[in-house]
């Protein structure tokens, strides 16, 4: 496994980059997302995406110099942690397009709740945001990620537009 993980059996915690990792299944992940979407309405996408972006940002920051190639690490972490296959090869410091195949969230949602009209991959979108920000030394808020095609909404794969704010691109 390329994601550095420490298991403290006495405290029953697993850490990576000083941040806690916990096992959960697609039923819980989709149930929690559904609770947030139903409870928070139009505020939900921002909260769900922001939560993911901050989580991966904190892990990558905690791992620091232990990672040489951040996009490659992010792709490996995404796969090893069970979220699907992430392809960041189309994303640079000015943005681009990312793709996720076999998205845990999209496939999980479809399996539990059936297809939906709007994209389901808020966690992957935030994960991409956080990884791109750290990879290119950008402020988290300067990177925005929008899912333009989602397996849960009928697309073959999940595709994300990654944009970097003009001020950061100009630097």
């Amino acid at each position: 496994m390329s994601v550095p993980i420490q298991f403290d059996a006495e405290r029953a915690v697993v850490l990576s980059g000083g941040r806690s990792l916990v096992f959960h299944c697609h039923f819980y992940n989709c149930a929690l997302q559904r609770a947030i979407e139903e409870g928070m309405g139009e505020r939900a996408p921002k909260v769900l995406t922001e939560g993911a972006a901050r989580a991966i940002h904190a892990q990558l920051t905690g791992l620091g110099d232990a990672i040489e190639d951040i996009p490659a690490f992010a792709e490996a972490a995404f796969r090893e942690l069970g979220f699907g296959l992430l392809d960041l090869s189309g994303v640079g410091a000015r943005g681009g397009a990312a793709k996720v195949q076999a998205s845990h969230y999209a496939m999980g949602w479809t399996a539990v709740h059936g297809p939906r009209e709007t994209p389901a991959c808020f966690f992957p979108a935030g994960f991409i945001q956080g990884a791109v920000a750290v990879a290119h030394g950008l402020p988290l808020e300067s990177v925005t990620v929008e899912e333009r095609g989602c397996y849960a909404a009928g697309a073959e794969d999940c595709v994300f537009d990654v944009r970097v704010s003009e001020g950061e691109v100009a630097r």
Binding site: A12, G39, A102
Partner: protein, 216 residues
């Protein structure tokens, strides 16, 4: 033979629960993720705090929805584990009766990274009391928000403790039922079900978290 938690944690910790060539972790009849506690805490407490801005009715709805997600987790994850070949091979030989299934599943939970769960008391068929010294929920809340002014915050643990009792004493996981939506409704919405309450929470100033499940 009594339940050997150390052996169970070691065995579960040694399972190859890493994404396959598709980036998925199929196990126990589910798809697992090794996820970020920071993510769960961020989204759950954003929802809880937003509800507190709206009033008591919204708070009650949010707390119920977050605990319900814990019920879903318990039913599918704990249920899936208790029906698995791994359970049969590792935990099964340590079980001499229904009551042993409780420390058995608590031992497995201690391999999930959720913080240490300790069985404080079990009255079979009536009450389960679990202590958690360092739940990832209370730890995350304290780190980000400080001492809670909104009460207890361990919603996943609360739903989980109720789930253990519903699977073992309200339903009959020992009879290897199918984990269907109808069975879920029977266990978590029917009469005689167990519900849990977090009676002490580190995030709200207690020394440790404690969750008690009793029949509704």
């Amino acid at each position: 033979m009594s339940v050997d938690e150390r052996a169970i944690v070691e065995a579960v910790g040694g399972l190859p629960l890493v994404g396959n060539e598709e980036g998925l972790i199929p196990a126990f009849g589910l798809y697992l993720t090794r996820h970020y506690a920071d993510y769960y805490n961020h989204v759950s407490y954003a929802y809880l705090h937003a509800a507190h801005q709206e009033g008591p009715e919204a708070v009650a709805k949010a707390r119920a929805a977050l605990i319900e997600a814990g019920h879903v987790c318990a039913f599918n994850t704990f249920g899936g584990i208790m029906l698995s070949q791994e359970w049969e091979a590792v935990v099964g030989p340590m079980l001499s009766g229904r009551d042993d299934w409780v420390p058995g599943i608590v031992s497995v939970i201690n391999a999930l990274g959720w913080g240490r769960w300790r069985l404080e008391g079990l009255t079979p068929g009536e009450e389960l009391r679990v202590r958690v010294d360092n739940s990832y929920e209370s730890t995350g809340y304290l780190e980000t928000h400080g001492t809670s002014k909104v009460g207890s915050v361990c919603f996943l643990a609360t739903g989980g403790v109720a789930g253990i009792m519903n699977l073992i004493y309200h339903g009959d996981i020992l009879a290897r039922p199918a984990l269907t939506p109808d069975y879920y409704a029977e266990l978590f919405a029917g009469t005689g079900r167990f519900v849990a309450e977090e009676v002490a929470c580190r995030a709200a100033g207690a020394e440790r978290c404690e969750v008690v499940a009793r029949r509704a």
